[in-house]
């Protein structure tokens, strides 16, 4: 994605991801093999805010380590499917919620070394 769509606060505790008119496909019956895919456009803004609660996940077998915090996450979006005249817009961003969110730094694969 274009880096311009990403805003990170100086303390790296708030992340805003914003993109406009992203070409996507509308495929309501996915993952059915015969589900019809229709070109659509999506505009969205997503905001992660750290709660400050520290988390660390590490798995030497799978070679990854994540160090960060839990977060709150909110999303607002608008979708249009021009070929069928459908459009949808979410309520304001503060009304949505994710029950699990986190932000932080990760290393995996060749960048990982066990502690």
């Amino acid at each position: 994605m274009p880096a311009a769509g990403l805003t990170i606060s100086a303390d790296r505790k708030e992340i805003t991801l914003e993109m406009k008119d992203v070409p996507v496909i509308d495929q309501p019956r996915w993952p059915a093999l015969d589900s019809i895919a229709t070109p659509a456009l999506m505009t969205f803004k997503m905001v992660w805010k750290s709660t400050g609660d520290p988390v660390q996940y590490e798995n030497p077998t799978q070679q990854f380590r994540f160090i960060g915090t839990r977060a709150e996450c909110h999303l607002e979006a608008a979708v249009s499917v021009p070929s069928i005249g459908f459009a949808w817009k979410s309520d304001p961003i503060g009304t949505s919620a994710a029950s699990f969110a986190m932000i932080g730094e990760e290393v995996n694969g060749r960048y990982y070394s066990p502690r």
Partner: protein
């Protein structure tokens, strides 16, 4: 026999080499073509390398099952990219409401609705790469 004579007559009539005449001269042409090819190789300036593409590696144990991500959750690999170091933001079990252009209220999100963001360095094509990736 008649067939051979007709071929011979046609060869004589045309100025450009026929298939038969080319085949007859093949033993003499082959060394000449090889020599030309060798000469061409000697003037090629760069040697081709095979470093693979610059696209990120998938997470191996997800990729082997045909998937490139898994829901965000405790103790689960949060990145969608292997050989990666950088910022990761994930969320899952998203819920919200919205309205369509007919005035119908339609909810969005399910227990498996998850999003991901990765910004940083990843290894591909035998070199470090920089990128920003999102899964929506």
């Amino acid at each position: 026999m008649k067939y051979d004579l007709l071929i011979k007559k046609r060869e004589d009539a045309v100025s450009t080499p026929s298939r038969r005449s080319v085949l007859k001269s093949l033993p003499y042409l082959t060394p000449a073509l090889l020599a030309r090819r060798i000469a061409g190789q000697q003037t090629t300036p760069a040697t081709m390398t095979s470093n693979g593409g610059g696209d990120p590696y998938p997470i191996p144990w997800l990729d082997k099952n045909g998937s490139h991500n898994q829901p965000a959750g405790p103790n689960l690999e949060p990145s969608h990219i292997y050989h990666f170091k950088g910022l990761v933001a994930r969320c899952s079990t998203f819920t919200g409401m919205g309205t369509d252009n007919q005035g119908n209220r339609i909810a969005f999100g399910t227990p498996t609705t998850d999003y991901g963001l990765m910004q940083g360095e990843y290894w591909a094509a035998r070199a470090p790469q920089q990128g920003v990736f999102t899964h929506i």
